[in-house]
Each structure stands twice: as structure tokens, then as C-alpha cells.
Symmetry: C2
Subunit: 405 residues, 2 copies
């Protein structure tokens, strides 16, 4: 069901990172469902977490731990989101951290827990704790594909992105994995991203890099307008390449940000290509807006309109639905007559109506593709934003209606 070919990035190993994945039978048999990522000492670690007031126990614990100690392990389970589990859920997350810490003579606060899966059931801590020795034994530098597999839930394929920044002696690597096939799937939550580099980067700068990259990637995708209870995205710099990035104004820093952005964008768009029930991958670019904010308001109004999404599913070049969504996006004094809308290279709308040169066959040809670009020009400013989304299909309803049946 996923859209477009599987990415076959050469995976660059990251010095200072070892990974493992095992089957611990949290919810299903014969499924990798427990992943451990070991982070070398003296690494810097930063993260962004869901804004949802109803955030899961592991999110609350991970946020605490990352602020208390230098993080050394990410412990990730699928099959159970440990969300809506109250105080008992927090104790369960801490118990897993304590058990792993005891094995390593370290502090529980050096471990960050992440969970994804069904909401409202207590975490089966015994299964996780029993699996920890085997998990620890399996740690290896080249287990990226296994780890990428181990964090999946309803995803139909792994998401890995890997790049090299710079050349020769100044070369550093970035490799990341992600999972999620909707912004929220509360029975099988949610979106997780883990990205690593061997560059040496101090925490304040690492936070800046992460914030910039997330803004242009995971914060620009939507499947159903819902944000998850468990979303987390972590960025780790191990420093083992002996290359330091510390000057924000330098060329190497700009290049690092660019390549990091491309890793994040690939992971984020890969989530959309694999979204629940998706049959189309849709990029919505809003240009010449007066501000970033109004570009995003328009892009999300279009991206999240059930009527626009069903039209994409039907391969229907239904410009009226797109224009109606733009019209209700809440942009002050929007002159709808100045707005143009194109599908790919085909101009669909100008002067508040269908473009005079538009031919239905051209719009139909664009709509028949499985990757579609909608370009909306507001003709009132300099801002541009792009949001990625999927269509609304029978399968989306089936998948989300059938979850607990």
C-alpha cells in the first residue's frame, strides 16, 4: 500500500552507537518489539516531545530523565503505548529503566523509555525486563535495519535515512530511523524518530539543529490532523568522528543543517508515503503568503479537509473543494480572485474560478499520479511553506474502524 519505491540508502554506521532488537512478545508473537540503542559516553542528546496535554507515561519520564543525566540508552517498545495508564504507567516505565540501569551499574535517569502501541493497557514490564539481557547481548553497530524494523507498528515498511556531510578528513555521518503511519493512532500510537551523528556538537547548538530540522519535516506532515500522545523525536551527537561543529555561522554548520534537514524530510515524508490507507502522496506548497503562519493555515486547511482528501482518493481534480478550503482558512482580507492553484504544472484556478486555459484532461492526468504537488499562490507576500499529506480512502476508515474489533 505504501507509495513510491522503498528507499535503499546506504546506511552509514555511527561511531558510538550500537543497536539491538528482540522479540519480547509484548502484544504479538514473532515480532521484533523491543529495541535498545546504546549511546557512547560524552555524547550530547536532545529531543522534542508531543505537545498533547494527554501525553504518555514514557514521554513524561523521558523528558525528566534527559534533563537530569547524560542519556546513555534509548529503550523502545512497541505493542503497548503506556498511555492513559496513570501513575501505574509511570512506575512501569521507571521499573524498566531501573532494571536496565542495574545491569549496567548506571543510574536509571541515563535511560530514556519510549513506547508505541495500544493505549490504556498497563505495560507488561516483566516481559520487557526478562528480555533485557538478550537485548543487551545483541548490541552491535550494524543493526540499523533491525532496529528500524523493531520500532514499527502498523507501518508497512522501515524508514531509514542516511547521509554523509563534508568530505575527506572533515566528513561526518548522519543516520536516522522513524516509525508512524499517522500523526496519531491511539490504539497503536505513534510517531517516533531517532537521528544520530558522529559529529561533536554541544547541546545548545544540537537543540537548534533539531528544532530547525523538525520544523521543516515532522512538523509539516499531517494524516488526519491529530497529534499523538507519544510523539518523540531525538537527535544524538556522539562526537566520535573527532569533527566538531560549533560555529553556527560557519559554512560547515550550514551544510550540516542542510543535510540534517534532508534526513528529517526523507523520514517525515516516508511516514506519509506509508500513512494509513494512503493511496496518494500529496505535497501542498503555499507561496507568496504574508507570513509563515498564514501559509501554514492555508496548507493545513487544504491538507486536512476530508472533502479535499476524498477528492484526491477519487483522483478528482476538484478545484472547488480546494478553493473552498483556502477560503475558510481564516486568512484576513484574502482576495480569492488573486489566488492561483496548480496541480503539478497544470494551472487549475485563477481569478476565483477555474483557469480559462484549464482542460479537465490535464487536471485528470495530474490527479491520476500517485505523487501530487498542489501549488497555491496567495499573491500577497514573500512567505512559502510546504506541508505533506495523504488522501482519505475507504481503507483509512476500515483500518481505524477495525482496530479494536
Amino acid at each position: 500500500m505504501a507509495i513510491g519505491p522503498v528507499k535503499t540508502d546506504q546506511v552509514n554506521l555511527i561511531a558510538g552507537i550500537r543497536l539491538a532488537a528482540v522479540e519480547s512478545h509484548i502484544r504479538y508473537a514473532n515480532r521484533l518489539d523491543l529495541v535498545l540503542i546504546e549511546i557512547a559516553s560524552d555524547s550530547t542528546v536532545t529531543g522534542v516531545f508531543t505537545q498533547n496535554a494527554f501525553c504518555a507515561a514514557p514521554v513524561r519520564i523521558a523528558k525528566q530523565h534527559v534533563s537530569q543525566e547524560a542519556s546513555r540508552y534509548f529503550l523502545i517498545n512497541t505493542g503497548n503505548a503506556n498511555a492513559g495508564t496513570g501513575t501505574e504507567g509511570e512506575l512501569a516505565a521507571v521499573a524498566c529503566c531501573e532494571a536496565l540501569a542495574a545491569m549496567n551499574q548506571s543510574k536509571p535517569e541515563t535511560i530514556l523509555p519510549f513506547s508505541t502501541g495500544v493505549i490504556g493497557e498497563q505495560l507488561p514490564t516483566a516481559k520487557i525486563i526478562n528480555a533485557l539481557p538478550a537485548l543487551q547481548d545483541a548490541l552491535a553497530e550494524d543493526n540499523w535495519k533491525l532496529a528500524a524494523q523493531g520500532i514499527l507498528t502498523t507501518d508497512t515498511r522501515t524508514k531509514i535515512a542516511s547521509r554523509i556531510v563534508g568530505q575527506g578528513n572533515s566528513q561526518v555521518c548522519i543516520t536516522g530511523i522513524a516509525k508512524g503511519s499517522g500523526m496519531i493512532k491511539p490504539n497503536m500510537a505513534t510517531m517516533l524518530g531517532f537521528v544520530f551523528t558522529d559529529a561533536q556538537i554541544a547541546k545548545p547548538l544540537l537543540e537548534e539543529f533539531l528544532s530547525t530540522a523538525v520544523k521543516r519535516s515532522f512538523n509539516r506532515i499531517t494524516v488526519d490532523g491529530d497529534t499523538s500522545t507519544n510523539d518523540c523525536c531525538m537527535l544524538v551527537a556522539t562526537g566520535r568522528s573527532a569533527i566538531t561543529i560549533d560555529d553556527t555561522s560557519s559554512e560547515s554548520s550550514a551544510e550540516f543543517q542542510d543535510v540534517l534537514n534532508s534526513v528529517f524530510e526523507q523520514l517525515a515524508t516516508d511516514l506519509i508515503r506509508d500513512a494509513e490507507g494512503a493511496t496518494k502522496f500529496i505535497a501542498i506548497e503555499v507561496s507568496q503568503g504574508a507570513s509563515e503562519q498564514e501559509c501554514l493555515a492555508v496548507a493545513y486547511a487544504v491538507a486536512e479537509s476530508p472533502l479535499v482528501k476524498t477528492a484526491f482518493f477519487a483522483s478528482d481534480p476538484n478545484w472547488g473543494r480546494i478553493l473552498a478550503a483556502i477560503g475558510r482558512a481564516g486568512v484576513d482580507d484574502l482576495d480569492i480572485a488573486a489566488v492561483t492553484v496548480s496541480l503539478g504544472d497544470t494551472k487549475l484556478v485563477s481569478n476565483g474560478s477555474v483557469d480559462s486555459a484549464y482542460e479537465e484532461s490535464a487536471g485528470q492526468a495530474e490527479m491520476d499520479k500517485d505523487e501530487i504537488r498542489v501549488s497555491i499562490n496567495l499573491s500577497r507576500g514573500q512567505a512559502t511553506e510546504t506541508v505533506w499529506t495523504s488522501d482519505l480512502s475507504n481503507d483509512y476508515v476500515r483500518i481505524n474502524a477495525d482496530y479494536r474489533s
Copy 2:
């Protein structure tokens, strides 16, 4: 497909109002598609119109006309929304008004045009103008059901509400009709409401009555979160009962507002009961919020969440999805542990998790009903708001994907 029994209100005729509906073959044969409502002289007329920046030609013309002259006719066509039709569409709407005005030796500005149907096609004015003489001849006081039928598009049944206010000599009547089976269906737009009373009410007070009634009815419903390009709701007071309502602080004024609210609420909820693909009618009441605004933010976040809506379709008491939607509604400093959620009389959520006394069988019994009340208590203030919505079914996707196929 519509939910609940058809309302069989006794329709109270409104002195000063005559109605007619004919077949003019705008888009389909054998279908009433042109309605005329004649309003006695010296009536007061007020209306509210869509906020969509991309509003249809008849909306722009009706707003102009109602501000220029005392309105004497509503001319309503289905089959064509005259939206996205540019200047040519405005000229078409005016041409229909001019033709009717010429027949009555009146000004075109006394006529308000309304259109609903497919977007982006030019209005077939000749068909409408040719049908006007027969339409005018058919005007009668007791044609309410015919008019209610004549304004429908994808609706599966008529919506009429009628009430008597007061008793004996001080009695006045209110009767209204409405159409729409989604907040927007850009190929077959949209929501229209026309409500009439024989009370005598000056325009400023009539505007107040309308504003209050709309806020609690048509502005509290959502099918897909989209607002239409053609939405209009009109309130007319003919004054022919010889009863004047002029003192806003009087008991009779309060009673009139109450009964008017109930007419509006019945029409609005009837739209939801007949919403596209709906299998459930859902009332979402948010209480003890700090403000009306945050109650509405929570209610709409729940009502418009595709994941919550598909859970309703599946009759799944999926409290995690409801809680996740509440959590992302953007309420500042929301203490999720203080929130309670009930389905009907069954408490589902307390302390940020499933209620300790909850049994799945009780939640399932509530979910199996076709009319469901979700009560969300935020435990942080005095405000209460209710929003009505429908579920998200396979049929919703089918209907909206198949429209132009």
C-alpha cells in the same frame, strides 16, 4: 440512512408568507429545483451568511440586496451553486432577480437569490427565468412541505420545524425549513435555512434573535469541519399577527427567543441526523470549562477528529481517542487528570485513564445506540457548550469520492 424518526411537526402557516416550488430542470429531471418565497410588504428581514472568503455569487448579491431594499422574495435554486463562477456568475444571479422584478414591477434589489448544487458551472439562467411565471402562479400559504422538498440536494428527507409562542390573543407562530447534509459539499453545496414568524419585530431586535439562535444551532454543528461557500440563514418577521415584540427585557421576548432557539436547534440537528454517510448522531457536551471558547475548542477537536469519528462508526468505546483529541485541543494548562468523560450515563474516563468502575459492556451498550451523548467535564470553570456531529463512515468516503465520477 438518516438517524431517528422523521419529525411530524404540525406546520403553522405564517400570515404574509406564500411559497411555491417547481421543476425547472437545472440539473436533473423530475425534481423540484426552484423555490420562491414571497414576503409581505412591511416585513423585516435579516440574515447571516457564510464567512468563507470564497463565497458564491448569490451570497454576494443577497448580502447587497438585503442592505439596499426591503426584501420581498427569496428565489432559491438547487442543482447549481453558482460558486466559483466569477463575474459571469454575479451577472447571472442579478439577471434572475431582474426577470422576477420585471414580472412584479418591483426593484431587483427586493429579491434575494440563493443557490445550492454543483460548483464551478455557470447558472443556467434561461431555465430559471422561463420557470418564473409558473412559479409565481403556484404561490400559496400552505406550500411549506413542497418548498422544504424543493430546496434539498443530497438530503434524504425534508427539514421543517414549527412552533407556537404564547397563548390566545398574544399567540405568534414560527415556521422554518432548512437543507444541507454536510457543512460543505462543494459539488452540491450547501446549508440553507429560512425561518419565518408572523410577529412584528424591528430589524435590530430581529438581528439579535437570529444571532442568538444561530449561535446555539447552525454554528454548533459539524460534519467534516468544512464551512461552505453558500451557507445562508434568513429570519423574517411579517408582523401580520399584529403582535409586536419590542422589549428585549420582557417575558414575551425571552419566550420568543427560547422557542426560536428550539426551532433552530431542531433544524440544525436534523441536518446532522441526515449528514452524508452518517450512521450515528452525536452530541458532545463540554462542561465546567473556563470559557465558552475553550469548551468549543475541546468539543470541535473531538467532533472533528477522524479517529474519534471512525471509532463512533465502529461503535467502539475508544476513550483513548477521545482523550487524545481533548489533549490536543490547545487548552492552556489543562489538567488531564481532572477531566472526566461519559458516554450517556456511563463514566468512561477519570484521573487521566479509564474510570475504575467502567465496564466495557456498559460502554459498548452506549456505543451501540444510534444517538450518543458524550459528556466531557473539564473541572475548571463555569462554561458549558454543546456541539452536534456525525460519524465518519465508509459511506462518507464513497459519497464524497463518487460525486463527480
